[in-house]
């Protein structure tokens, strides 16, 4: 059974996943993703992914694949033609910077899918990233959340512009669908409905 929920015109259903996710090979280097020290990383120019990891990543020769951002940037020439054919998507971790993606790929809508990996479900950076991809960078295609995705984030993910959700493998995506509609009339404007409640309804006095 698939654990991928996809929104189609606002209607959620379980679908088979036709994308293959490419992972970075593991390293011994201490990962500092949780650090939330993007500011510091930027100041010190520290990288969170090593050149060796990027070089060692196996890019499948055929099929629809989602590449890690660092690989997508560093080995872009290898996949140029496939991007044009709509076979390439990109995923980023919550600590990565969207500007790095947009500097490489000005036309984001050439990518059929952008996915964001959330390592711990309490990491709310994913929501701001979704929001920015939709509202700032005009991304219109599938926006996917994967990783530690549980039903209790789904409503927020939907409101932040995500249209597909790969629910963690040990949970039922079927049951999770219900959480997308936990609230029917949210107060504030967000990505899915930019108008706050006071602009959507006449609330009288």
């Amino acid at each position: 059974m698939s654990n991928l929920i996809k929104l189609n015109n606002g209607v959620a259903s379980l679908v088979e996943d036709d994308w293959t996710l490419v992972q970075l090979p593991a390293t011994q280097i201490e990962e500092r993703k949780q650090a939330g020290k993007v500011v510091l990383f930027k100041l010190t120019g520290e990288a969170t992914v090593t050149d060796a990891q990027i070089a060692d990543t196996v890019i499948p020769a055929t099929g629809k694949i989602i590449l890690p951002l660092s690989v997508f940037i560093a080995r872009n020439s290898e996949v140029k033609a496939r991007i044009a054919q709509g076979e390439i998507g990109v995923w980023l971790a919550t600590h990565e910077l969207l500007e790095n993606l947009t500097q490489q790929q000005a036309d984001l809508n050439a990518l059929p899918i952008i996915a964001i990996f959330v390592e711990r479900f309490a990491d709310g950076r994913i929501f701001s990233l979704g929001n920015l991809l939709r509202t700032r960078f005009g991304f219109k295609n599938e926006l996917r959340a994967f990783g530690d995705v549980l039903r209790d984030q789904l409503f927020f993910l939907k409101r932040s512009g995500f249209t597909s959700y790969l629910v963690r493998a040990d949970r039922s995506a079927q049951e999770a669908i219900a959480s997308l509609t936990d609230f029917t009339k949210p107060y504030q404007g967000a990505v899915d409905e930019p108008r706050p409640v006071f602009k959507r309804y006449n609330r009288g006095a």
């Binding site: 949780q34 939330g36 500011v39 709310g124 990233l129 993910l157 609230f183 504030q188 930019p194």
Partner: protein, 555 residues
């Protein structure tokens, strides 16, 4: 006050259903402890020393009598018959059962209440001062904006899982009583040179382990942009705030690391995209919400009342209460009244179910059915006629709610400390009680005058010890409980953080230490000088010398 319409009601009802299911899944083992934690925290449920602790939201401190009556019922039915008003104007229950919480929420929803975002790493209850709408020094009644911000922040999808808790305070008075400088964001209303309503925005304040007073990020913001500007601030924080170390995760650390100028630059860059988008507040919405806070149906009463004057003249106990617990009011012939939740020898901020029912009745009888909670952990009846004060006093006194100690040494702000809180280094309630008993002589207490004494059981600073004129902090030394004392902290426009006077003390020593601090003050003060002013004039040295003098002789 703000009345729910169907949309507000639907949200709390849907929340009850959602939380009921989350609790069910947790109890059925479908949610792990770690997964349930952020969910229950966003609903104000802690697992504490004794039992779970449930924090019920009191938005900007406003309560109706019906709500307080219901809180009395709930604390009777699901708890041990009392509740605790906190420094964030909320009510905490110390003994609810985890399984009962969905029922409690359902009960709360019947009176337009909830526990949404009273904890967790999200935007918390928005606070303001307890005299909003009635204070003579008020420039703008900030409640409409506070309510609009309450709605905007409720289940805000982008800010549901921030690096850390996020607290916003609004103030509409010349003399700040909302502690705007000790909040993640402080919004201070004023009228600009064109007589337009504007906001001064503070950012990066907070107490806790690293106490920092906020910095001004924007001198002038048109009120229409309150939501979008906060969005810009919080987005920068959400993306760049530290998540590796919870002690360094508050926005104040980010602001400090970047410097206020760089932080402002990033916020402004973000705001350029958000300004004038849909979350911009409209005149119509402000007007709609503001109507809920229109002035009360005041009667036309004279500025003086002969019966009141006579009672003050003939009854010293009443006069003492009037002096401490009755406050000026915008409306002629009316006063605001503080019901003290600080009777000597009891836990500050605690209130029994019976007292809640009584206060609800008093609010109905004397104050248009409304009341407020203060961050000093007292209750306020904001709209009492002069001619009613005596009758109100007699009833309040009969129910233990009329201690004439507001603003005095024994009006102690105190966190639950080691008696309830699993994070505590030391007990705080017994220290508060011991100090109250030491200063039980009313004349002496009044002579000492205006004083803020704040106690926290650990460096999380729930008791605001940093901004107390005297601050007491529970510390752990080799597994036993000690207390560190600071002086010179202050809230308000000229806020300051206290200075530690020296090595810490045992619990037994604490009343004596406070006594000695007072002795120095009494000896050194100039006429009309408050304790805090004497400390500011003289510095810590004379206080330190006197407090530690005996110890040195003994050693």
């Amino acid at each position: 006050m703000y009345k729910y319409d169907e949309i507000d009601q639907q949200i709390v009802d849907e929340r009850v259903a959602q939380y009921r299911d989350q609790t069910r899944r947790y109890l059925a083992g479908e949610l792990s402890e770690d997964e349930f934690r952020p969910l229950r925290l966003q609903n104000g449920l802690y697992i504490q020393r004794q039992a779970p602790m449930l924090r019920i939201a009191v938005p900007y401190g406003m309560l109706s009598s019906a709500q307080l009556r219901k809180l009395g019922d709930i604390s009777k039915k699901y708890d041990k018959g009392y509740g605790h008003f906190s420094t964030r104007q909320n009510l905490q229950l110390n003994w609810p059962k985890l399984e009962d919480v969905p029922e409690i929420l359902a009960d709360l929803a019947t009176v337009e209440m909830h526990a949404i975002q009273t904890s967790g790493n999200c935007i918390r209850n928005i606070t303001t001062d307890q005299f909003v709408g009635v204070a003579p020094d008020e420039v703008i009644d900030p409640r409409a904006i506070a309510e609009i911000m309450r709605q905007w922040s409720t289940f805000h999808p982008e800010f549901a899982l921030l690096p850390r808790k996020f607290k916003i305070a609004v103030s509409g008075t010349k003399n700040d009583r909302a502690l705007v400088q000790a909040h993640d964001i402080g919004l201070e209303f004023y009228r600009d040179s064109n007589n337009q309503v504007a906001l001064k925005v503070w950012v990066g304040g907070g107490l806790g382990r690293t106490p920092i007073l906020g910095a001004v990020i924007r001198e002038h913001l048109e009120w229409q942009h309150a939501l979008t500007y906060c969005e810009a601030i919080i987005r920068v924080y959400n993306l760049h705030g530290r998540r590796d170390n919870i002690y360094k995760a508050r926005i104040k650390i980010l602001v400090k690391a970047l410097g206020i100028d760089e932080f402002r630059k990033q916020v402004d860059a973000e705001w350029a995209h958000l300004k004038d988008t849909d979350n911009t507040i409209t005149e119509a919405e402000l007007a709609r919400v503001a109507q809920h806070f229109d002035a009360m149906p005041y009667e036309n009463v004279p500025a003086h009342d002969a019966g009141f004057d006579a009672a003050v003249a003939s009854n010293p106990a009443f006069a003492a209460w009037v002096k401490r617990c009755v406050h000026p009011h915008k409306q002629t012939g009316y006063r605001a009244v503080t019901l003290s939740l600080k009777p000597h020898g009891q836990a500050p901020g605690d209130i029994s179910s019976e007292q809640m029912w009584t206060v609800a009745d008093l609010a109905d009888e004397y104050s248009f059915g409304e009341l407020r909670s203060s961050h000093e952990q007292n209750l306020i009846l904001a709209d009492v006629k002069l001619s009613d004060l005596f009758a109100l006093w007699e009833k309040a006194r009969a129910n233990g709610l009329a201690s004439p100690n507001i603003g005095l040494l024994t009006d102690i702000i105190c966190c639950p400390g080691g008696d309830f809180c699993s994070l505590a280094n030391a007990k705080s309630i017994p220290i508060a009680k011991a100090i109250q008993m030491q200063f039980d002589n009313l004349d002496y207490l009044h002579d000492i005058g205006e004083m803020e004494l704040n106690i926290s059981g650990c460096m999380n600073a729930c008791g605001h010890h940093h901004v107390g004129h005297i601050g007491i902090l529970g510390v752990d030394k080799d597994g036993s409980e000690w207390y560190q004392v600071s002086i010179g902290g202050k809230q308000g426009n000229d806020a300051s953080l206290g200075t530690v006077i020296g090595p810490s003390f045992s619990a037994d020593e604490m009343p004596g230490v406070v006594q000695k601090l007072i002795e120095v003050y009494i000896k050194e003060r100039t006429p009309e000088e408050r304790f805090i002013d004497t400390v500011r004039r003289l510095g810590v040295a004379p206080f330190k010398a006197h407090v530690y003098a005996k110890n040195e002789v003994a050693a």
